[in-house]
């Protein structure tokens, strides 16, 4: 695997962590390293063990075995010290319905030991930064899902953490709100915060993460940059539909041009080509079809999905995993 992480400048170093719930091995000798001021992604389907690992790294859960260092602190030996350096936004935005946004941030500030003016000032800063000023003095039960997420993220930022843990920060958000959160995350990284986030979406890991770990059934399956994962795990797929009459000819033309096999899906009458450079080849296919006077009724390129990645490395589909 290319660009393996070396030990210098590690913000997180997890070694051999194991956690068992009854007979279920939620984590099985897991290793994970995260570089300072980078975004590290933990990618996996439901029940993979992502939240369990986050909880262990943030002192909420103790592992049966293993070592966890965060920001130079041994989390298991000195959890109180670790808590001063981390921020956590859990999987379910844990904001109190009956408090206003401002009260929520103020309370967290005071709990971190700020005095009242400090906590007020910091709350105002975060409300501005997270675009919550207009809603600041409304109880959060009136907030949308995206606003709750942002507030929850705000609460984890109150004490300017060195390492920030985000458990599925964008699950359930609409695309616009998701992009907004991505921007906030990128902004934080620029300021030097180390971020570890979990996600079920490959495209999110792709867009945000400098390095990705794929976890399934409590085991780390594979790790690498988004680029290396995509090229090693899955390929782009070009899909097109032509009329029955043109099917055989289209297949022939594309195979000649791309020098690769074209699959025909008998059921849907679609042609499918696997490729490592989806966009370039898509254009090539389009040009070739035009030259041969063939008409594609549909033509598209798909990036490999998390499901494709899983199928490739585990031999089972992510969606079947429960």
């Amino acid at each position: 695997m290319p660009d393996k992480i070396t030990n210098d400048k590690l913000a997180i170093n997890v070694q051999g962590v194991t956690k068992q719930f009854g007979t279920l091995k939620a984590l099985d000798t897991v290793d994970l390293k995260a570089r300072q001021s980078k975004v590290t992604g933990l990618l996996g389907p439901n029940g993979a063990g992502k939240s369990t690992l986050i909880k262990i790294m943030t002192t909420l859960l103790s592992p049966d075995d293993g070592r966890v260092m965060v920001d130079g602190v041994d989390v298991l030996a000195d959890p109180s010290e670790a808590r001063k350096r981390i921020g956590l936004a859990g999987q379910y935005a844990a904001v109190d319905d009956f408090l206003t946004g401002r009260e929520t941030l103020y309370m967290v500030g005071r709990l971190y030991g700020m005095d009242s003016p400090q906590a007020k000032k910091r709350s105002q800063e975060l409300l501005e930064r997270l675009d919550l000023v207009d809603a600041a003095d409304r109880q959060t039960k009136t907030y949308s899902g995206g606003m709750r997420r942002r507030l929850d993220l705000g609460a984890s930022l109150v004490a300017t953490p060195h390492v920030l843990f985000l458990d599925e920060p964008t699950t359930g958000l609409d695309p616009r709100t998701r992009l907004q959160l991505w921007d906030i995350i990128r902004d934080l990284v620029k300021q030097g915060v180390t971020i570890l986030l979990t996600t079920q979406y490959l495209e999110e890991a792709d867009a945000l993460c400098d390095y990705i770990y794929v976890v399934d059934h409590g085991k780390m399956i594979v790790e690498g940059t988004a680029e290396s994962l995509k090229s090693s795990l899955g390929q782009d797929v070009i899909e097109l539909r032509v009329s029955d009459a043109q099917l055989a000819r289209a297949k022939e033309v594309i195979e000649q041009r791309l020098k690769t096999e074209v699959e025909v899906d008998d059921l849907t009458q679609r042609l499918r080509v696997r490729t490592t450079s989806g966009t370039d080849d898509l254009l090539a296919v389009a040009a070739e079809l035009k030259k041969a006077k063939l008409t594609a009724e549909e033509l598209s390129v798909h990036r490999p999905s998390l499901d494709d990645v899983f199928l490739a490395v585990t031999g089972h589909s992510a969606k079947e995993t429960k």
Binding site: R83, G90, Q91, Y92, A93, L99, R110
Partner: protein, 252 residues
Amino acid sequence: MSGVSNTLQIVNRNVKRNFRIPQLLIFSSIQPVVFLLLFNFVFGGAVGPESGGNYINFLLPGILAQTALFGAIQTGVGLAEDLNKGVVDRLRSLPIARYAVLAGRTIADSVRNVVVIAIMLAVGYLLGFRFQEGILYFLLAIGVIVLFAYAFSWVSATVGLLLRDSETVQVAGFLWVFPLVFASSVFVPVATMPSWLQVFANHQPVTEAVNAVRYLMQGMGSGDAVWHTLVWIAVLLTVFIPIAVWRYRKIQ
């Protein structure tokens, strides 16, 4: 010091919770008033004579103890809710004193109790309740009942941390609270019960607390009930604070 400040923040949060969620406010204030009215007018005629002729003076101290116990159930229910909603996880990820979350909730529930007790006393006054032993003993009685409720809040917190599902905690609450409330001197004199039940009813904390309040407010019975109640409160706190804190530390 920072532990105290942490606790005050959590108290503040929970007081807002207790007073801003309409269902909680209604449950904790209207329900005891309804009980007070119902029992006064339904049982008043039947039990009146045995209670010395003035049933409301006999009943109100009992209803105060009952309110304390029913209110205590909410400590455990609220804690279970916070556990399930991830609020407790958020708080546990902060560098705060470990006892702050529990202390903050039990103290906030005491604040609510003081308000509810004030409402009950006002309604009781309209129904004819008068304290007989002077303002000092009256305030002492209020102090005893608030402390008593506080001790049971810790029992309830322990139940909440053990069962962890708010609905289960609610149902379980009635299971442990009902026998304590009804097999006591809250509504009827213990002497009217079968003798085997009297053994339990005479010595359990609710009877002691009710008798203590009756002594302090009405001069009924013996003053021994007051220190018996204080001993019960001390015992409950000594046993249940460590258990609750231990369970809290074990949350996974």
